[in-house]
Symmetry: C2
Subunit: 209 residues, 2 copies
DNA sequence: GTCTATATCCAGATAGAC
DNA sequence: GTCTATCTGGATATAGAC
């Protein structure tokens, strides 16, 4: 009996995951309002009504996806912060990895699009707004700290660290959206162009790009 | 009689402009689907049904706004192209002006948001898709040309001009979206951070990407 | 030109059979 | 758990009075 209960729980969670997975793609490409429950059900291959056996509303699915997306982003930032690398190497690594992920991971792109839609629309559930409000600043803050550390070491250019962090993330975000809207074989630019923007060029040490 | 006809035409066009103006703000903040005709009518201060006296559908308003937005962008790029300035000065000027406009012009921000929503959603009218397809590449092409010219003169860093153009526009776009989603007193970063990214540093000649 | 009222449709959510 | 059928609300678009 206990066995069965656990099994059932697991099956149920798997099914929910399927729904989230289908919903992510739909929300990411069409936004919350243009996505119909039917679209999600079709994507998963289940009847429209069955979705409500797992989630009690469209908004609930949406909020859960937003929560996951924001958490994923923040976790990545935390792990960057905790790496034992000099600040400018963290920035370099982050840009390289992010661009690579943009170029290769479809799931990452969908997640970026979801967040882009969510942050740029006022027509989302209150709970989603609250989550965004709470969690969107951490990446900016952490990158700003790293920039400031790099400036102390003379490896990052002199400018307001907060502004550098804004440029950092908005550039990445802009590229992710660009990529998302050109499903064809569009290549992502060379990471060095972006990296170069933040690196201090000191005499000989300059050409580390 | 002819007088009256002209007058009427003019009044009608003014009224349509009011509708477009209200609709732009609604579409920009909520997207096409989440925006109800009632929202637009309310924004203009007219009855819901009256909107249909001027436009025959919500989609028609949307398509007209997309058309205007794309044309405005392309005209700005053409005028940049036709300026008699050295290439790197064009880039500098463009970045300065764009950031300033992002910082001060609410209409420009709304336009950016509208385009961002439109390009990142597949759930828009076919005609809007076609327009975007036709017109979105010109800004990239023109900036790529300017970058290439600057490289010949040794004032722009060495890298694929197309990639430089992509970084250029996606950075601007990312910033516009950032600004749009923080209506509070968020300042836009110093233009020199972005300008710096594209400029060849002739001093030591050291750092070439 | 402007409004109110309404026909029509569509989609979210529920009920109930299997 | 899964489906089909249905209730219900809300939004587009139209009709018709003023």
């Amino acid at each position: 009996m206990a066995r069965n209960k656990e099994q059932n729980e697991k099956m149920r969670e798997e099914r929910k995951q399927q729904i989230r997975s289908g919903a992510l793609r739909q929300f990411a490409t069409k936004g919350l309002f243009a996505t119909k429950i039917k679209d999600i059900a079709d994507a998963v291959g289940m009847a429209q009504g069955l979705v409500y056996h797992y989630y009690k509303s469209k908004d609930e699915i949406y909020v859960e996806l937003i929560k996951n997306a924001l958490n994923k982003m923040n976790e990545a930032v935390i792990s960057l912060k905790e790496m034992s690398l000099p600040p400018h190497e963290k920035i370099r690594l982050a840009i390289e990895q992010l661009l690579k992920t943009i170029d290769t991971s479809d799931d990452f792109i969908q997640t970026c699009r979801l967040i882009a839609h969510a942050t740029s629309s006022t027509a989302i559930p209150e709970e989603a707004k609250k989550l965004i409000q709470e969690k969107r600043d951490l990446p900016y803050q952490e990158v700003a700290k790293i920039m400031a550390q790099g400036q102390e070491e003379g490896t990052i250019i002199e400018a307001d660290p907060n502004e550098l962090a804004i440029v950092f993330w908005t550039s990445i975000n802009g590229l992710a959206i660009y990529k998302a809207t050109r499903q064809d074989s569009t290549a992502i630019p060379d990471a060095r162009i972006l990296i170069n923007m933040f690196m201090e060029r000191t005499g000989e040490k300059s050409c580390r790009v």
